[in-house]
Symmetry: C2
Subunit: 418 residues, 2 copies
Amino acid sequence: MPVNLRAPDPKDLHPVAGLGIGTAMAGVRKANRRDLVVFVLDEGAAVAGVFTSNRFSAAPVQLCREHLAADGGRGGRAVRALVVNTGNANAGTGADGLARARRTCEALASHLKIAPQQVLPFSTGVIMEVLPVERIEAGLPQALAALRPADGAAWAEAAEGIMTTDTLPKAASRRCIEIGGKPVHVSGISKGAGMIRPDMATMLGFVATDAVIDAALLQPLLREVADASFNRISIDGDMSTNDSFVLMATQRAGHAPITSLASAEGRALRDAIAAVATQLAQAIVRDGEGATKFITIRIEGGRTVAECRQAAYAIAHSPLVKTAFFASDPNLGRILAAVGYAGITDLDQGLLDLFLDDVHVVRAGGRHPDYREEMGQRVMKQSEITIRVDLHRGASEALVWTCDLSHDYVSINADYRS
Amino acid sequence: MPVNLRAPDPKDLHPVAGLGIGTAMAGVRKANRRDLVVFVLDEGAAVAGVFTSNRFSAAPVQLCREHLAADGGRGGRAVRALVVNTGNANAGTGADGLARARRTCEALASHLKIAPQQVLPFSTGVIMEVLPVERIEAGLPQALAALRPADGAAWAEAAEGIMTTDTLPKAASRRCIEIGGKPVHVSGISKGAGMIRPDMATMLGFVATDAVIDAALLQPLLREVADASFNRISIDGDMSTNDSFVLMATQRAGHAPITSLASAEGRALRDAIAAVATQLAQAIVRDGEGATKFITIRIEGGRTVAECRQAAYAIAHSPLVKTAFFASDPNLGRILAAVGYAGITDLDQGLLDLFLDDVHVVRAGGRHPDYREEMGQRVMKQSEITIRVDLHRGASEALVWTCDLSHDYVSINADYRS
């Protein structure tokens, strides 16, 4: 039951020149579903990626890091293709898993006449199962036969091809204000919908732009965008082994190259990419497993951004807070308790203010004298709610998006493999 | 649906001389339920306590700390009474809550002709609601009229009087090997059953012994016992604002005083108290909200105890792990993912071993070649399961007890206040 989310309309997704997309039904885990996606970049494109900080990172994540390190965004070993399978995460699979991820890269590279190091592999699905790499190998010709320019329909198909427990495909797109008289496009896709609590990384998110940009700027740009989008969401606090967020720049828009992120053009491009990434990240929360509410948590007045994030995530991960929101029950003391155990060791509870949307619930650490249960109740019934906590001890703040915890979350995760 | 837990039989609970217990129905939140418990200690008893590290600690916790600091376990300001109410936690209530907790102490002190500082107050129940202190004041005469020596029936009644969402009262008792020819008794009670993830503290636990022991030894003894019992449990990762664990020594057993915890007598007493506290702590997990499985998590081979605890709690708090156990689904990669995001930044996944009871599931970071799904399935169906992870990077270990996450957990916490 996604919260205010619709399947993307291909007409709303801008094409990105210099990028091809192909999909296939490879039967990785289940037959007759789109489960293999290939991105192929024209020569000259630049690619950057951020990945899970989970120490049990999946084999494909390990290979992505290795191949991107060898790439540096340019030169004869530049990344030219991405291959994504759903149905199997190839995580917790040891040395054998790494070998199978390498075979996937080798297979695609051989078709494209490039080096295996020019391929980035991605997997999502069940953990600790052997990757049926022979099915991927067998499916690649079908995906490559279907390869076509990355237009709206191709993006929509790719969004479907990377889904796991998602109930809807997720895609977003923006056209920048023109740069040097040329329109610049940004399109992307993402998938959730459980094991979502990125940290310095994301779940699967792929964003491409035709912008012309110095390849060295791509990685810092990606990190900045990730921190403002995918790194702000949490569904269940479980950080995946496979989180990956990739930005591709095909350099085809025809304007003068962007050589600084601080320039007007650099800022315009960053804003467009951030808008796409934020919409994709929020879509993951809106389609979070069992989600019935979309909750924005804003912590203000902290001494550091880090402590604001700690408090925000403590609220976002509290099963008691999440079940109260599911029930539309303004049992808001649970929010105070979560802030209290967030690890801010010198927190003075007597300073804290809590707001639910526009309702002032707690003042100076205690229930606001004007607060009435019906006021909280009214807000709790909405499908979109903002929790705002002011710590009154500094000027830093943080923002996190999350969802509630429902019976359906338990059902979905108790049944995921069956 | 508690896991292998029965209501205590009063016959199994040893009396503790020098302690009186009285209970009443004060209607704090609901009518016709035992919700007020008073402990009264004879002169000469010593008391120690450990409390939540939640920075939003409840008003009664703040007063307990203040009164125990003034006490030091002896002298004219020694603690002589405890008063516990259920139905309202008096947390997140600001300065007004503190005033109401003080009124509770003053009321009991006035009846007993002692100073208010000689009373420790405890509250449990809903957060951020105004404590109806007038109902507690009105109930105290009834509780004091019912005051009687702490025999098995009195302990059982007190265990019932501190329950919130617990489905069963929790009590445990041991008789030490005799010390100096005199039998020594240890009895105690506890309550859960949600918002359970103590850290350097506990939920409500009260343990009393008639042992004769140097009052200065009581606090270190309590802390050691807490670390081996209540600090090892987690139900939902939500650390309460009100966790309190109190040890009372009435000094009435008649043996020569214990002056060292390292002596044979000191160790015997510690073992008996630890056994009672462990049983009480495990009882809270067995009766955890919605629990259907009792899960022991043992992390071995860590460099430090701290990192072993991090890994154990990451597993214990993972909603994905907990729902898999609820479903008896050996989706065990979720355990690897949790260890991976536990914050051990230099963890080498290639060294890790995972066992489910006696089944070797993961070797060197990958699925064990002999592991078959049905082997995991067999263990997952049990009501008591041990997860053992060997990090193979040191000699430290840690132990945590937890339960699964079921539909009933969501139902209970979505309905708690209705």
